[in-house]
C-alpha cells in the first residue's frame, strides 16, 4: 500500500485486477474510493425550494490499474460523481479519495495525479490550435515549456491529430474534439483518469481506436473511471462495471459477471415449435414471456435459474433440433435492472417546504 494511502488508512483488499478473468486480486491499494458520498443541490426559493438528490450514499472502490465503468441513464449521477472526484464539486456528505488523497482537503495532491475528460464539445479553447491548447494545459499541470511541448506532440500523435496540430479546434469535427479532449486529459501524465462520456460523437472507427487506447493506458498502469451509456464499450474496455441509477449504486461487478446475474433471463430460441409444445414449455416453472419472432422462430425467456435447462430438455425430447440459447448482453442486464426508465432523466426531489 502506498504511503499516501496508508496516511489515510485506505483499506487494501479490493486490490488490482486480474485481466484474464475480470476478477479482483487482493493486495493493491485503491486509486479511487468513496465512502458514503452524497450530493444534494438546492433549487428554487421560498415555497418552491426543493432539494435534488443527485447522489445518494455512494460507496465505490476502484483498485489501482482498473478500468472501471460507470453505467447509468441520464441524470443517474455519473457526472456528479466525476465532478466530486475531480475536486470541482464538494460532496454534501461522505468522503472521497483519489490516489489516497482527500478530494476536499487535499485538492492539490489530487489534481496533480488526475486527468479529467468531461464529455461534450466544450472544454477546449476553440479559436486556438490543438497544439496551443495542449501546451497550455500542460503548463497548468506544471510541466516546463519543453516538457509541455514534447508531451503535447506525443499525445497529438497518439490520438491521431498530429497532422492537424496547427489547425484551430473550431474547425475540428466532434470526434476530433473528443480525441483532443482525451489528449488534454493525459497531458499531466495522470495516475487516475476520469472519462465522462468520452466517445460521444466519435464514429465507429474512432471509437474502436479509443478502446485500443484505453487498453494501452491500462497497460501503463493507469486507473480509469469511465462513464458511458454505451454497453458495448463498457463490455469491451472495463474490468468492472458499476451500475448507477438515481444517484445510487446498484451493482459493481465484472461485465461478464453482471451478465451472468440474469442467467435466469437466459433465452431459448427455437425453430418449428408447435403450439402444443409451446404450451408445455409455458407450463414450466420459471418460463416467462414467449414471443414469436419475425424470422419464424420463437423466443422463450426464462425468469429463474434452471428454467432454461428444463425448457431445452423438453424441446429436445420433442425432437425439435433447431434450438439455440443465448446469454444476455450487458445492455440487457442494464435494461433489466434499470427497466424502462433508462431513457428518462431521473432525479430524486425532496420538497423542502
Amino acid at each position: 500500500m502506498g504511503a499516501a494511502a496508508e496516511q489515510h488508512g485506505l483499506r487494501s483488499g479490493s486490490g488490482g485486477v486480474d485481466r484474464a478473468s475480470g476478477g479482483v486480486v487482493v493486495g493493491s491499494d485503491l486509486a479511487i474510493e468513496t465512502r458514503g458520498v452524497s450530493r444534494e443541490f438546492r433549487t428554487g426559493r421560498g415555497r418552491r425550494a426543493a432539494t435534488v438528490v443527485a447522489l445518494g450514499s455512494v460507496d465505490l472502490a476502484v483498485p489501482t490499474g482498473e478500468v472501471h465503468g460507470l453505467l447509468g441513464p441520464n441524470g443517474a449521477g455519473k457526472t456528479t460523481l466525476c465532478k466530486v472526484l475531480s475536486t470541482v464539486l464538494l460532496p454534501t456528505r461522505g468522503q472521497a479519495f483519489v490516489a489516497g488523497f482527500d478530494v476536499v482537503r487535499q485538492t492539490d495532491e489530487v489534481r496533480r495525479r488526475m486527468g479529467i475528460v468531461l464529455g461534450g464539445e466544450r472544454g477546449l479553447y476553440n479559436r486556438l490550435t490543438a497544439r496551443r491548447n495542449l501546451r497550455y494545459w500542460g503548463a497548468l499541470f506544471r510541466l516546463s515549456d519543453r516538457d509541455a511541448a514534447r508531451r503535447a506532440d506525443e499525445l497529438l500523435e497518439r490520438v491521431g491529430l498530429y497532422d492537424r496540430a496547427e489547425e484551430r479546434v473550431e474547425t475540428f469535427s466532434r470526434g476530433m474534439k473528443q480525441r483532443l479532449h482525451l489528449a488534454r486529459g493525459l497531458i499531466g501524465d495522470p495516475q487516475v483518469l476520469l472519462l465522462d462520456e468520452p466517445t460521444t460523437g466519435m464514429d465507429p472507427v474512432a471509437a474502436r481506436d479509443f478502446r485500443t487506447l484505453v487498453g494501452e493506458l491500462r497497460g501503463e498502469g493507469r486507473t480509469i473511471l469511465l462513464t458511458t451509456h454505451d454497453m458495448v464499450e463498457a463490455e469491451h474496455v472495463c474490468d468492472r462495471v458499476t451500475l448507477i441509477d438515481r444517484g445510487e449504486l446498484i451493482a459493481t461487478e465484472a461485465p461478464r459477471t453482471l451478465a451472468s446475474w440474469i442467467s435466469r433471463f437466459e433465452r431459448v430460441d427455437v425453430d418449428g415449435a408447435d403450439d402444443r409444445l409451446l404450451a408445455e414449455v409455458a407450463a414450466i416453472a420459471g418460463v416467462g414471456r414467449i414471443e414469436h419472432r419475425e424470422d419464424g422462430s420463437t423466443r422463450i425467456e426464462t425468469t429463474q435459474d434452471g428454467a432454461a435447462a428444463a425448457v431445452l430438455r423438453l424441446i429436445v425430447d420433442a425432437d425439435v433440433t433447431g434450438v439455440r440459447t443465448s446469454l444476455p448482453s450487458l445492455e440487457e442486464v442494464y435494461l433489466h435492472i434499470v427497466g424502462d426508465r433508462a431513457m428518462d432523466v431521473h432525479r430524486t426531489i425532496r420538497d423542502d417546504t
Binding site: R39, F41, R42, K83, S86, T87, V88, L89, L90, D108, R111, R112, M114, I116, L118, G120, R122, G123, L124, Y125, N126, R127, L128, R132, R135, Y136, W137, A139, L140, F141, R142, L143, S144, D145, A148, R168, R184, G188
Partner: protein, 255 residues
C-alpha cells in the same frame, strides 16, 4: 511561475483571435480629443499633459476591469473553467497572468493618446523624466492586474457582476485622480483617494511629465506596488473563498 507565464502567453495568443477585451483602446483617442479640446478652449495649454495622460489611464483601468470579467466569462463560455480549476495551477495566478497580458497590451493607449495629440492638435507632450515614467508604468500595470483579480473573483461568483464592474469605472477615475488631481478634490475625499493605487500612479505620471524632479519617487512607487499587492492578495483570498462556495453550491460552471 510556469502557470503564470503560460497564462500570459496564452492570453496574447487568445487575443489575436478575440480582440473584444481591447475595446477601450478604441475610446482612448476620442477621450484625448475631448480633453484636449476642453483645455485648449479654456486657454490652459499647461494642462495638455493632463489631457493626454488621462485617456491612457482610463483605457488602462477599463481594459483591466473588462478583461478580468471577460477571462472568467470566456472560460465559462468555452466550458473550460471546471477543467482549469481541476488542474494543480492556482486560478488566481492564471487570472493574474491573463489579465496582466491584456493590461500590457492596453499600454498601447499611451501611444494612442500621444499620437492623437500630436496629429490632431499638434501638441507634443514631452517626457522629461522617462525613467520614472517607465517605472511608474511598469508598476502601475502590475497593480492594475493585481487589483483586477478582485473583479475576476466576483465574476466567478456571479455573472451579474457586470453591474459591479460598470459601477467601478467612474468612481475609480475620480478617486484615482485620473482626470483631476487628488489635491484638487474635496478634502474629505482625499484620504479615500489615497487608498486607490491609481491616485499615486496618476500623480507620479504627471510629475514625471513635469520639469521639476519627482519628489520621493521610490516611496510613492512603493505605495503603488503595496496597494496593488494588497489588491492581489485580497483578490486571491476572495477567489479562494468564492471557489469554495461555488464548489459547495455546484455553480462553478454556470454561476
Amino acid at each position: 511561475m510556469t502557470a503564470f507565464r503560460a497564462a500570459f502567453g496564452f492570453q496574447i495568443a487568445y487575443m489575436r483571435r478575440n480582440r473584444d477585451q481591447l475595446m477601450p483602446l478604441f475610446a482612448s483617442p476620442l477621450y484625448t480629443v475631448i480633453f484636449l479640446a476642453i483645455t485648449r478652449a479654456a486657454g490652459r495649454d499647461d494642462l495638455s499633459s493632463y489631457a493626454v495622460l488621462a485617456p491612457a489611464l482610463i483605457a488602462l483601468w477599463a481594459v483591466s476591469l473588462m478583461s478580468a470579467g471577460e477571462v472568467i466569462d470566456s472560460e465559462r463560455y468555452e466550458g473550460t473553467l471546471e477543467a482549469v480549476v481541476a488542474t494543480p495551477a492556482s486560478l488566481g495566478v492564471v487570472m493574474f497572468g491573463r489579465v496582466l497580458a491584456v493590461v500590457v497590451i492596453g499600454c498601447l493607449a499611451f501611444f494612442e493618446s500621444w499620437l492623437t495629440a500630436a496629429l490632431l492638435f499638434g501638441v507634443v507632450v514631452p517626457i522629461p523624466q522617462p525613467g520614472w515614467f517607465l517605472a511608474t508604468l511598469a508598476i502601475t500595470v502590475l497593480a492594475m492586474a493585481g487589483t483586477a483579480t478582485i473583479m475576476a473573483s466576483v465574476f466567478v461568483l456571479a455573472r451579474s457582476a457586470r453591474t459591479f464592474q460598470n459601477v467601478l469605472s467612474y468612481p475609480v477615475y475620480v478617486l484615482g485622480g485620473v482626470i483631476v488631481p487628488v489635491s484638487l478634490l474635496p478634502a474629505w475625499v482625499q484620504p479615500i483617494s489615497r487608498v486607490v493605487f491609481l491616485s499615486w500612479s496618476a500623480d507620479l505620471f504627471r510629475d514625471s511629465l513635469g520639469a521639476a524632479p519627482v519628489e520621493a519617487p521610490v516611496g510613492r512607487l512603493g505605495m503603488v506596488l503595496l496597494l496593488g499587492a494588497i489588491g492581489f492578495a485580497v483578490g486571491g483570498w476572495m477567489l479562494r473563498r468564492i471557489l469554495a462556495r461555488v464548489r459547495e453550491t455546484g455553480t462553478l460552471a454556470y454561476a
